[in-house]
């Protein structure tokens, strides 16, 4: 491939991303702001779908871009810039979620409510809501695959790159996840 992948993924008109990246590496804040404006909402949606908390999602977006700008000089262009950025987003969000989970595990041990538990049918009879709850109740690896593939629309190849797993593993996880969702929703579909 002779054209940098990043040049093919500019979400809107304006300078090509390779130009912005070069300018940012040279210290150009306005180029950084342009790049941020292009990607911030997408990153926000992605991390919100991972964490489910508005305030935390905003913190994560900031962490993601601070990390991304700090690492931009080492961006190799081997993948699309969007994929590179979203990998940082997924990693940052997952790390933060693991911290949150540890805290909540401690709280659960003290008797607090388990927010990841699937709600009962009586408490939440709506099928969509039940699906959302069932997705939330999946183990992290399965949930991430469903969110990234079925909700966010990434390919297995991109998911593999983001999560550091093989493409086949992503497919297997999706198969497993859908199976579990089907079981969780079985009594609502008849």
């Amino acid at each position: 491939m002779t054209t940098p992948a990043i040049a093919l993924h500019a979400p809107d008109a304006g300078p090509p991303e390779w130009t912005l990246i070069t300018q940012i590496v040279a210290g150009d804040r306005s180029a950084a702001r342009t790049l941020y404006d292009r990607h911030a909402r997408r990153v926000h949606r992605l991390v919100f779908r991972i964490c489910g908390d508005e305030e935390l999602a905003c913190d994560l977006v900031q962490d993601v871009f601070i990390r991304a700008f700090g690492q931009l000089a080492s961006f190799r262009g081997d993948s699309a810039f969007t994929t590179w950025l979203h990998r940082i987003a997924v990693t940052t969000a997952l790390n933060q979620m693991r911290k949150v989970k540890r805290i909540r595990s401690h709280e659960e041990a003290l008797g607090d409510e388990d927010i990841h538990a699937a709600p009962s049918r009586e408490a939440d009879p709506d099928l969509k809501a039940r699906l959302h709850a069932a997705i939330d109740a999946l183990p992290e690896g399965l949930r991430m695959t469903v969110v990234l593939h079925d909700v966010e629309g990434y390919t297995h190849s991109e998911i593999g790159e983001m999560l550091g797993i093989a493409e086949g593993t992503s497919k297997a996880r999706l198969f497993e996840a859908r199976g579990r969702l089907r079981v969780a929703l079985a009594d609502f579909a008849s």
Binding site: T3, R33, D37, F69, R76, G77, L127, K128
Partner: protein, 227 residues
């Protein structure tokens, strides 16, 4: 539940699962800008003249890939130089943006002058190329692939174009272009498996003339001026 029902539900989830509210874009940017740019350690930019610069230990292939449009820049330069020569020359149009050591301002004018813009892109790409120069370190295999050398040659050609352009009317820029010509000429002659001594000569040439700090300072000045 059938596969079709499940697919339909999941399709719906794209629009219904954890849909966020509009994020506070500007408010989030404030912290990002502060931490990413005001914390100088995180950004490899704006070195004061004479300050030692440590090059990264490995070459980034991505940096080299950004060199792909070098030919385009050279073409832009030709147009810019042409415009510069046929236009009535005014001090504002051809003078170098003021060289500053401070962090660039946030609000900058959009690029307009093709020569200044092309010079700015050339400076940024030259910074990237020199920063990705292979280093002589013990136990490290040195390589300089044909693409890397080709990029250096393209930038060398651009340097020579700039030396004949209004961009070199400023004595500081002319001196910088001359030093870059010397360094890039050495880089352009690197073999695919350069000897450590060749790299040492290049590094010495850069260090003796403070090439990279001056280059970065000028590049930052262009950036701060909106180019």
């Amino acid at each position: 539940m059938t596969d079709e029902q499940m697919q339909e539900l999941l399709r719906d989830a794209k629009d219904s699962y954890r849909v966020p509210a509009e994020p506070p874009i500007d408010a989030m940017w404030a912290r990002i800008e502060r931490e990413a740019f005001d914390a100088s350690a995180s950004m490899p930019v704006v070195y004061g003249t004479g300050r030692a610069v440590e090059l990264p230990s490995g070459r980034s292939r991505g940096v080299r890939r950004w060199m792909a449009p070098a030919a385009g820049i050279a073409a832009t330069l030709l147009v810019g130089i042409g415009i510069g020569r046929v236009s009535k020359v005014t001090p504002d149009a051809t003078s170098l943006p003021p060289v500053v050591d401070a962090t660039p301002s946030v609000s900058v004018a959009p690029p307009s002058d093709p020569l200044l813009r092309a010079t700015s892109e050339y400076l940024a790409q030259t910074v990237a190329l020199l920063a990705s120069l292979p280093r002589d370190s013990v136990g490290q295999k040195l390589t300089a692939d044909t693409k890397f050398v080709a990029d250096a040659r393209a930038l060398l050609g651009t340097t020579r174009l700039l030396m004949d352009s209004p961009a070199a009317t400023d004595p500081r820029m002319r001196d910088l272009f001359q030093d870059l010509e010397l360094v890039l000429a050495q880089v352009a002659q690197l073999r695919t498996a350069p000897r450590a001594q060749e790299l040492t000569f290049i590094a010495e040439a850069m260090n003796e003339r403070d090439v990279v700090p001056r280059l970065r300072t000028v590049a930052a000045s262009y950036t701060a001026s909106g180019y």
